[in-house]
Amino acid sequence: MSVTNLLENWSQFRHFHPVDDKPHDPYKWAMSIDLDTCTGCNACSVACFAENNIPVVGKDKFEHGQQMHWMRIERYWDEDVSNPGGRDFPDQGAQFLPMMCQQCEAAPCETVCPVAATNHTPDGLNSQIYNRCIGSRYCSANCPFKVRYFNWYDYPTDDSVWPAEMNQQLNPDVSVRSKGVMEKCTFCVQRISAAKITAKNEGRLVHDGEIQTACQQACPTNAITFGNLVDTEARVHKQWEAQRVEIDKDKQEKDEEKGGTDLRGYRILEELRAYPSVMYLERVRESAV
């Protein structure tokens, strides 16, 4: 291995999935989120808590950075030029960005796990195996999106997050994680599995729209689209194609064009070559009223 070879073929060395001999077939789960329709209502986050047995940690633990929300709404403000030295978090003008695990194709978290508890599935998901995790937290340190959450406490027993009878609302298709385990958004893999089994029983592939993630289902403005990127009929595929965002590129062709395009699709921290599976559609409005 020479340096030139390494540099020139960097994406081949770094890029684990997909490659020509291992294409995504028949599934590659991907998402697109339209920030123009997102109102920052947090319904997706709540739905995620309910679906995935996520503990609500409370204010104290939140302030210690021990929050567990797999789906969080990030807020950004334009610099307030008219009012220099104003408040850090003004009441108005926030832009919202739902942020969860980007299911990177070349995920930085996967390469550093000492016990291979997080790895790639053939359908392009970044899996997290709770019973294999030893809690080194290296993956979280290496995640550029900071979307991995660590169980600092045994929430079900010590903290009694779900006291008796309330534990009846836990989703049986998702593990209740114990202390010392890393967890993150799974693209609602339990729903994907269920749909795949139904499809297999009927001898077909999963239809577009058959799987809805919890966040997508709860979104009042349909900002979130989820589906199979390989399926040319899928809505998510059409959106990615229309926005000319390609999953296996770290620099999109449209960005090279002189004068730019008016396409809104982009992926966060694309230049890090993690190849995220979530495309965001930029907000059209200049700023909020």
């Binding site: 490659v19 001999d21 016990v115 599935t121 053939p122 899996s127 294999r132 030893i134 080194s136 593990s175």
Partner: protein, 250 residues
Amino acid sequence: MLGCLLTWVDCLLGELLTMYRFIRFSTLLVGLFVAISGFAADSTVATLTTPDDLGPEVKQPIEFPHDRHAGNHNPSDPTKGGMEIDCQYCHTYARRSAVAGIPPLQKCIGCHNSIESVKDKPRIKQLFEAWEAKKPIEWKKVHDLPDFVRFNHERHIKRFVEQQKRPTQEACGYCHGDVKNMTVARRQKSLSMGWCASCHEKAHAVTAPGGTPIGKQAYWYTFQKPAAAAGATPDAIKAQGPNDCWQCHK
């Protein structure tokens, strides 16, 4: 000058790579050792497995005679043999959901209401007492997989019973043992991950032409470096069965 520098950087990178591999491997070994010794030392952890790998003995509220219900006919003395009832008559959800299900009391009463000859037997009396009191029988789970495992009965029944037309008792027996000769069901297999894989590796071998040693490692397949899987055929990629952790773990 530049070439010299490049060669030097090249060497350094090579060194680093070797070191990285070594460190990664040794971390794995140390991690495994710590995990295993930690598990062995902590005896307060509820035992999922026993020395014979078959789990703890389960005491059922009624000693249910599987042999009488599912066992073979005894032509010489019909009062002694079994009734040859299909497993799926009572465990009816196996063919259409992830779990096989324990039959509700209605199902027991449905038959036993009209079987006068055994109504005075103590176990049947217990059954009717519960029925009159409108209380379910609290059967204990024998084949209790850990919560982080996703197992689907439906897929297995579809494959073995519906597609391959094997007898139900044979198909169920792969995991549940010879239930028709038991009274209260006991675990006969370890139900460990390695045990699951022992079938799935056989049935879903992933092979590559050219001798790339990825065969029979279906669930390891996705960990292979692209170079190692270079000879893999498209068929190999489409191999059915669990070839990533999330198909069975949740």
